[in-house]
Amino acid sequence: MQGGGEKARYYASLGYFNQAGTTVGTGMDRITTKINLDYNVSDRIRFRTDITYTHVATDFNYTGSIRNIAYTKMPNMAIYQYDEYGNETPNYFSPASNIQGQYSSTYNPLAMALIGVNHQLGERITPKFQLQYALIPNSVLTGTFDIQFDVNNSKTQTFLPQQATGRPTNETSVNRATDSDGDGLNIQTKTNLIYQPKLKEGHAFQALLSLQSNDTRNVSHNVATTNTASDILQDASNPSRTQNSDLTLASSSSQYRSVGALLSAQYGLYDRYLVNVGLRADGNSRFGPNNRYGLFPSVSVRWRVSGENFMKSLTYVDELSLRASYGHSGNVPGSNYSFYNFYQPFSFSYCGMSGVYPSNMELVNLKWETLIGKNIGFNLAMFKNRFKVDAEYYMNTTKDMFYTGLQISSFTGFDNVSMNVGTMDNTGWEIGLNTVPYKNTNWSVGFDFNIAKNINTLRSVSEFYPKTNGAKINTNGVYQTYLQIGNPFGSYYGFRYLGVYTDADATIARDAQGNKIIGPNEQVVQMRFNYPSIDYQFQPGDAKYEDVNHDGNIDYMDIVYLGNGIPKFTGGFGPNVTYKGNLKLTLFFSYRAGYQLINGTKMTTSNMYGFNNQSTAVLRRWRNPGDETDIPRALYNSGYNWLGSDRYVEDASFIRLRSMTLRYNFPQELLKRIKFKTGSFYITAENLFTWTKYTGQDPDVSSSRNNDPLSYNVDNSMTPPGKTFSMGLSIGF
């Protein structure tokens, strides 16, 4: 609803959203309301008030590993118990332990999803007030003052009933209830002074002084108790066991503040040349007294070439402008008070006395992470805006890059430290195309396309920075990555998989010419793994890896480049068709090209290493000498049959039909008749098809740790994006 007059205007809205999750036992309920009120006291003073309230109730699964357990759990175990006559009972079958282990390595996944509780409630109110005062009328000098409050309260309650785990009642996993409250209050203020003098025709000048402050407070309270008398008593306040090192009763509070001052000026000449310079000073409570303030300058220019006289003759060019910018900005670390050395009490006593220990080290050297952005770009519009290009090349340098939890030698008494570790470059380009190749009175066909490439490279780094990812390449299932100064991130290394040793003869070491290697006493030499420290002799049925250097020994010297998990290109494209301006069909495809993903699911479902459920591929495993197959023999908890190798590396390039929307805007005359302002109807389908050679569930694995040069992407079959269909009717009045 909206309305009002010259003095005052109002806007109000109310929304409700309900969604059932992809995994059973998950879902969300959301209510949002919003009220805006504007009041003009006079033509020089104006008030604005925005108030938003959001209520969210979300049900999560008790643990995030339910899908994982469901994949790996014995498929022949019943969901429900059977009575002695063979009738199914309503009780979940949750044995205390079985051959696959016990909670938390295995459990009844359906019971966990349906009766495990993880309920989160959020209440958030954001009132915002603004006062605008024209110090000198006609926008010459305007002052604004903004203050925004953000009250964000949340509550999480979880409960793990005994039936979901089957564990004996004296354990702390039984009827375990937790309750945590978090109250956050954030106050932001912003005072702006904008100076915009009236200048001669063709000149434009604007100066801005902005002062900002931010104050955030968080208070939290956590409690975990276990062994309530019944799994109906699900609240942590019920009489239950409260003292155990595994249980918590904790509260914390923290505060964080920042101030900033920005001075910037912009000068435009004849609407063709535009220059902007700025200087920002920031202060932040997350730094120690020595490094608390930072200064960040910036400058940008824009030249509208199409405004020049010599371009006037090229009538088909609507717009051409070039731009370039250079600027610094600062980032702060994620945690408060890190420049203090804390002492914490142990949660248990020793000989009846309580002890404290230094729980962190004081970070006196932590300083601002500075982002230096440089970019150039242009946009061009031609043929009455039917062809538009926007292109940009950027190079962002992160100086004094933060690294949280950088591993340090443990003789210091600590495992890791947060510090500024080095300089990273993030370079890339983006091109966006908007075209309307065909248009007549009834029909309009458009085609959009964008493509981008982004590379991260490390330029210099602290001596504490790990040189490799620490992968134990002689253990199964891991790949090696190296710190390579100056090379793009994302490459990983491992063995080359050649299949399976079919028989005893195949396991004899051979030189580069394929002749058997003969030892000093004329004996034949077996292929070995990691001689001398492991010195495992390969047996028939074992996985065969390429002996790159032909020394009869598979070890770190046989590791080769296997792939890179960062796409060469990403982007999207899609046509849209409009009929008579009212009916519009939009298709959007997204793609990523030129990257290799490690199919972690394939690895864990065919390694035959433990008691986990396996895929049907293992039915063709090697069993007898002479068997020719690509799946090695089953070896319980031993052997080297699933080392990080190209066996699990797959090309994951894909094109996905991300969305397809058909929208019909009701014609004006119809709306007028039913007294609505706007009205439209739409159908959307998302994630309909994916074209890819990748055999896993979803090739679009997002790399959460893009800033880590030593990480590599593994697809562990997380919840894939659902195919969703939605229909909607939107009406405004």
């Binding site: 090192s245 509070s253 008070y337 142990f346 000989c351 002890g355 404290v356 080290m361 210091t412 504490f464």
Partner: protein
Amino acid sequence: MIRKIKYSILIVLAVMLGTSCEKWLDLKPEDGIIRQNFWKTKEDVKSSVIGCYSSLFATTQTLFLWGEIRGDMITSTLRSSAEQTEIMNGNILSSNSITNWRVIYKTINYCNTVIDFAPDVLKTDQTFKEEDLNGYLAEVRTLRALMYFNLLRSFGEVPLKLTATASDADLVQLEKSSQQDVYDQIVADLAFAEQYAPLTYGVREQDKGRITRYAVYALQADVYLWMENYTDCITACDKVINSNQFGLIAGRIPNEDNTDSIPNPQWFNTVFYVGNSNESIFEFQYDNQILNPFYNLVISSNRQFTGSTFVMDEMYTIDLLDDTKKDIRGDLASIRSSDMVIWKYAGANNTGSMRSQTTSYAHWFVYRYPDILLMKAEALAWTSQGHAALNIVKEIRDRANALAATERSPDPSSASEISDYIMEERAREFAFEGKRWYDILRNAKRNDYANLQYMIDIITKIAPADRQQSMINKYMDVRSHYLPINLYELQTDKNLVQNPFYQ
């Protein structure tokens, strides 16, 4: 007018910025203790010393594994992790997390923190006296020495970190120190502690759970014995023995009408289940608030280790003719003969009930009085006092009702024969107390590996058939007796060099 407003706003802003900014941004945490507010009173010192002890709990699993997994008394189960079985099969890689020394150095850092900051308290707390300070320093320096001694015996050469890491400005990349340097540091710490450590804290559980001067002597004896300094070892042992503060808990007590003696039914309960007995010198004081790691390791149905079968068959043995004759340390004390469960940590009594997950708080025994006696016997044997040594062994055997089948009669003039016999007795006495591997190594490495065959025989016995030859070959190379430095440490410290066997 407008100008006035403009200026006054500017002035107000400038004042706001200039003066209050610094104060406004200077936030101190509202909860938790920060160093600036700590180290003011003697209570602060005490609680941080207690914190050093509390941190010992985290080391127990590591100490158990380092002391037993390469020895012959425990064996793997189906539930053992791949890393555990790799070590048992002689495949010791620097990537194996069991070679991780993190928990040990954590305690060392806590000790270093007390050593660095506690002296400041003298200035702020007038009731805190020099002798109080020295008492606390003696405790933490002994703990530090104990931790370095474990590192020395497990890795040979290790980095010697003697100052606290309190801020990121303290970060260093250390090199390994030589065995001699580590040894000298341990001796120096103990020499200090010997002067100042309290004789008693007045409370039994603290006398057994904190470092007393007797614990210092016990550690001294162990360290000297390791470095083959037998005279000092005997001196240290005698200091404990002559204090008359300790004795052996009798293995037999008179029967009801005083006509005969019966095995002491309370023996297991006194020494191991309850702990802190008269023969105890230093134990990690687990209790119901803090459980030991043994539930998962040796108790639960998914236990990762059991005792080797030969522990019962060959070490304690069974008297087939008279089943009332039993080594009191054997069945239902160290081990349950029916299923080889390690009873020292699993047993709730000596009749067969087990500890549950919630009662798994058996103490970790660092030194017990029999250790002093047997260390002395070993030192006596190597200083040509074989008879005296054998008398001590007999004392230990008699109190435990050791069976005749395990009795040997070594030549009193042959130090190595007596020493081998003492090793057998130590195995019986300290089964699963994290001492076996170090005993084997000490006995083998003595006099420049004169008795390497002792270790090789044991390895031959425990090696799986298909690995026997390669394991023997490996153990013949004496450099393999020390663990590799964990890969993690090599990656984070470029000055650290891998131990020679693993390079």
